[in-house]
Point group: C2
Chain length 694, copies 2
């Protein structure tokens, strides 16, 4: 209970303060606003709350803020009065603590006072319902610090009670009570609101009339010594009115104390009990109005809420404990990403990254590291393809596996990798396909691999590539990269390729062929095919994405079986342990940079020479290749042109020659090219079954 001071004698009117009721939805919405809109902006924000006056006895008067608090045009819930507030959300706990709360309160009080003096509060009484909310949202821990204030202007002296408070049913007859209900409801209906916070009342034994504050003069015309005012009262206590009355009494004192010495106050309480409406528990009393008509200065104000311990201090709510851990994980991951946008890279288009569907061909050292980096970037759709099982030497270098995964012959890598991603972050959509990637030079009629199985594998691979946006080639053999490169080229998918030596690596994006036909459905409608054509490409500068080479372009031999006849050190693709982490991370960072470029995979390739120039994206360069040399801790950014007879990506020597079934390729005669559709699956079988060297 906050008491006003002064004037001993008559008992003094006291007011029940509001309890702030900040809903989980409010904090959630604040989190979103902070992340996506306010970011580092600390400027005051308009927010909106409401209070209800129909609670059962025992509940404190509450000012509620929920998810809708940030939408000033959101409707107020039925039978609730709106309150308008100002949110001061600080960037740091430090500035939360050091905020000048006295000043904030004075500013708010002054606005209320001005609205009283100017009459604006008569026109719009909601101006009296003002609140402040000072917050700091620690979004890493989901701890929300806040301090709520409902400024109440203080009357120059305490208000002696002349009469009451008593229950309305002790003063009004049943008829009068019903007339009050009826009159109030009608006024609300006329005004198009479900509740009026403040109103005027006139009554006699037979009738009860209510009116708006702004109609004061007409309504009370001829009235003497006493007027009756109504307040929509959120308080339940039989002896005390709630907080909203305070500013209303100041308004009454300022505007009407020259005419009246006292005011009768009806604290209108309107609840439903056992199915029946009940306003009889409203209270009514009469207080002496102090003389305030000519005071020009804003009275002092109170209103900062006490904390749970009853002291003057902020409150903290720890939402991490009451949130679904999985959603909490998702929000936390989002947070880390959005933080990048706030100050560092405001133009970063995170959606382009987060929404990309990635197919990882290979779930070994490179695949594991690429997947981890994709997770760090918030990519939610990750698919693995691998046919190997986890062996004992893998976990120390392949960061999605553990010792237990090796037992019993080892789990299939692709499946185990997908499982692990779920364990790391339940929000990820990860799948694994335990399948072989058909390879030229590895005859399909060898051992247990049948032609039929190879055909199925090709079709599955084709489907997988179709269903993803970015294809990562992360295998440990040259030749296994070939078929995916061909299919991805034909489908115009962005290909990111990474390959390791002992202490060297190459990370590259494949050139992205011009779309077969321009128009709707293009992934990158802005790509400058026409203009770039004019540039020419005799120098290795300004080479647009569609002229860039693929992994096979500098390579005139066909992919053969590189696993045969390799010694153990060659088979293990022995490399310095740090190399795969570096190459895997760079492969993803290259993808992200390319995605940030407005032309995506068609972007002109950056070279080492561009390092001193203005970068083409907010994240920097979009090279064609990154070749790294760990022994020198050095990277270079070569650019190379597509080879027009490339066995993988050229339309001439690649797809077209193959689909034409030219016998110059040594294709077997048994294949009837005219009867079978010439999809990559068929093309590949031709090659695979013939072990063609083309």
């Amino acid at each position: 209970m906050a008491a006003t001071t002064g004037d001993p004698g008559l008992s003094k009117l006291q007011f029940a303060p509001f309890s702030s009721a900040l809903d989980v939805g409010f904090w959630h919405e604040l989190t979103q606003k902070k992340l996506n809109e306010y970011r580092l902006d600390e400027a005051p924000k308009d927010i909106k709350g409401y209070y209800y006056n129909g609670d059962s006895a025992g509940l404190p008067a509450r000012l509620t803020l929920e998810f809708s608090a940030f939408d000033m045009s959101a409707p107020t819930p039925a039978r609730c009065c709106p309150a308008v507030g100002t949110l001061y959300n600080t960037n740091t706990l430090e500035s939360f603590k050091t905020a000048d709360k006295k000043l904030l309160l004075e500013q708010a009080a002054n606005e209320i006072w001005e609205s009283i003096k100017s009459g604006a509060a008569l026109e719009n009484p909601v101006l009296l319902n003002k609140f402040l909310l000072l917050t700091f949202a620690d979004l890493k821990k989901y701890h929300f610090y806040y301090w709520f204030c409902y400024p109440a202007l203080c009357l120059p002296e305490s208000l002696p009670l002349i009469q009451g408070p008593v229950g309305l049913d002790q003063r009004f007859s049943l008829k009068q009570i019903q007339a009050l209900e009826c009159a109030y409801d009608n006024l609300c209906q006329t005004e198009g609101v479900t509740a009026l916070p403040y109103f005027l009342i006139k009554y006699d034994e037979n009738t009860v009339l209510v009116s708006l504050l702004k109609c004061y003069s007409d309504f009370f015309q001829g009235q003497r010594t006493k007027i009756t005012i109504g307040v929509y009262d959120p308080c339940n206590l039989a002896q005390y009115p709630g907080w909203p009355l305070r500013n209303f009494l100041v308004l009454a004192a300022h505007r009407w104390s020259s005419s009246f010495q006292s005011v009768e106050v009806l604290c209108f309480r309107d609840r439903t009990m056992q199915g029946a409406r009940d306003v009889a528990h409203s209270i009514i009393f009469e207080v002496k109005l102090p003389e305030m008509a000519f005071s020009p200065d804003c009275p002092k104000a109170v209103g900062w809420e006490k904390n749970q311990k009853g002291g003057m201090g902020p409150r903290m709510v720890n939402l991490s404990e009451c949130m679904d851990p999985k959603r909490l994980a998702e929000s936390s991951v989002d947070l880390n990403l959005k933080l990048m946008c706030w100050r560092l890279v405001p133009t970063l288009d995170l959606d382009k990254v987060v929404s990309v569907k990635c197919l990882l061909l290979g779930a070994g050292t490179l695949g594991c590291n690429v997947a981890r980096t994709l997770m760090g970037w918030g990519v939610r759709h990750i698919t693995f393809v691998d046919n190997a099982k986890i062996s004992y030497s893998n976990p120390v270098r392949q960061p999605l596996y553990e010792f237990e995964d090796c037992l019993g012959g080892g789990k299939p890598k692709a499946l185990a990798a997908a499982d692990r991603l779920q364990k790391i972050f339940p929000g990820v959509n990860a799948r694994g396909f335990n399948m072989s990637i058909p390879m030229p030079g590895h005859p399909v009629n060898f051992s247990s691999v049948t032609l039929e199985q190879a055909r199925k594998d090709v079709e599955q691979l084709e489907q997988l590539i179709e269903n993803h946006d970015v294809i990562f080639l992360l295998m440990d053999t040259r030749e296994s990269r070939w078929l995916p490169a061909v299919i991805a080229a034909s489908k115009r998918k962005l290909v990111i390729n990474a390959a390791l030596g002992f202490d060297t690596f190459v990370v590259m994006r494949h050139g992205l062929k011009k779309p077969k036909q321009q128009g709707a459905g293009d992934l990158y409608p802005n790509h400058p095919v026409a203009s770039a054509d004019l540039l020419g490409s005799s120098l290795f500068a300004n080479i647009p994405g569609y002229k860039l080479g693929c992994y096979f372009c500098n390579d005139v031999v066909a992919p053969g079986d590189s696993t045969r006849d390799r010694t153990l050190d060659q088979q293990c693709t022995v490399s310095r342990p740090g190399l795969a982490m570096i190459a895997g991370a760079l492969a993803v960072e290259l993808m992200v940079s390319v995605l940030q470029h407005p032309e995506g995979g068609y972007a002109i390739a950056s070279s080492s020479d561009d390092r001193m120039n203005e970068p083409p994206t907010s994240l920097g360069l979009v090279p064609h290749q990154i070749r790294g040399f760990l022994s020198r801790f050095d990277n270079v950014l070569p650019v190379s042109l597509a080879f027009d007879k490339c066995t993988a990506c050229s339309s001439k020597a690649g797809l077209e020659l193959l689909t034409s079934g030219s016998t110059c390729l040594g294709l077997p005669k048994f294949w009837d090219y005219r009867r079978e559709p010439l999809c990559p699956a068929n093309i590949f079988l031709l090659i695979a079954s013939a072990v063609v060297n083309f």
Copy 2:
């Protein structure tokens, strides 16, 4: 049963072939030899096996190879005959398959033949016991492919049985049997062996004499038509002799068929039955000797072992199933490392890396990635220090944690990280310390941190640094790096420091101060303090390790509290997700390169300019700093000198000024420097409690 051919009529002598018995110990030893000695060497190797003749009935005759097979001077087990073999261990499965087995057999047969013709086999009958072993060890899978051959020269025709075979007890009296046992044992004893593979026998009703082959002339002097020879027979079968007899019969035919038409063969079998010696189950028979005295050409030979299916083909043993998985994991991890040495970096000193004890201060994004890379390098001793708990945003960027680790407020990072390393590789010795690193600028009398706790933390940190070889500074604040840098500098420990920006990083080794006193116990006795001193260092070239700066050297302000008053994006140390992986990997690779340098941390720093020069280690450069710029995919290698008034590493402004307790540092007066020992713990408390700006 392998039958000889020709001469129908009398029943033919057949021989029970050897079963190869390749012990797990043999494969283990082969693995070690391959990894550490043979590497890519495919040259034939001498190995040694043995066979036993005391088996119970039902066991096949076995030629056993165990761990001792590679030690030609290893003793033959008691009551076993040695066999000498040649190991052909191929580097690839392909060359295993394509090995010319016919040629190998012919070569071995020829050697046997030559030893018969020259008489060498008479002097040393073990020359008849020759075997071949063709192997391919797939050490990634612990699959061992092998094909065993015990070459047997073929007689020109099959050997007709003139008499027998019958049990020795049907031919010899008990007295004769005892005399045989006695004579054989005496001869072994005289020769200093526990078993003789081949010997000569002469007997009558009362006596049995045995002699060595080389004594043939004297022993059989006066003998007519028939001689008796003895063979130490690994075979158990009542009707058939074992394989060793074959070459012995060829020897007999070649050398003695001009004198004798037939030979009586005693297949000496010598077992212990129910505690009693038993040779009575030996068999004896007589065969016609073919005329081979004058044939100069090596007879054809047989001997490649059939596989489990009974066909001519190699066998495979999969030891991964019968090995202790944890040891298997250890071997597999070792393998991957040793593979690096074989061809790529033969001079790599792996022990220096594997045995290093690493202290990781910080178990966040950098700490996790550093630990993973250390695991890849085979480092077995890793200790984490961190005081944070795992939050929901961590697992996608900190690759030692999963979603479950975040529940219930989050596990302490240091402990969870150590647990995870054990799960990845049970052979690691990982520990975690959930403790704070006392920081200047963070007053120790603040909140719950007491002076006493800070003192304990300092002492523990000091002890940890003392007990490790390399100290990684991987924290997310500047000031937390200070105290470890001071302590590590005073203890002359190699410090590797990594720090991240948004898309930039620095990875550096701190300069390593000259040892306090030269001499025994120096970590790097070769470091060229004296000579490097002469070089001067006015240019940033040829700066020796002891003159290099630390993280704080370019920094004149004291470390303050950088976590206070930071906005969320600053607190999160927001960086591009790939950055920590790259920096973490480079931090370890830098450590490894430094360890490979003969002068270790005292090595002259490589700079960007050295990239074209001959590198100082087998792994390349040993820079002072690697500064990376992800937006340009570029690294530079700056070198900077130690600042002689550095707040962390200088002896003047750092340790000495502090330990002198100079009041110019604003140290509190209450500390009695003369009474308390001036260990870093005390020094630090001075600073921490005073929040000194020095």
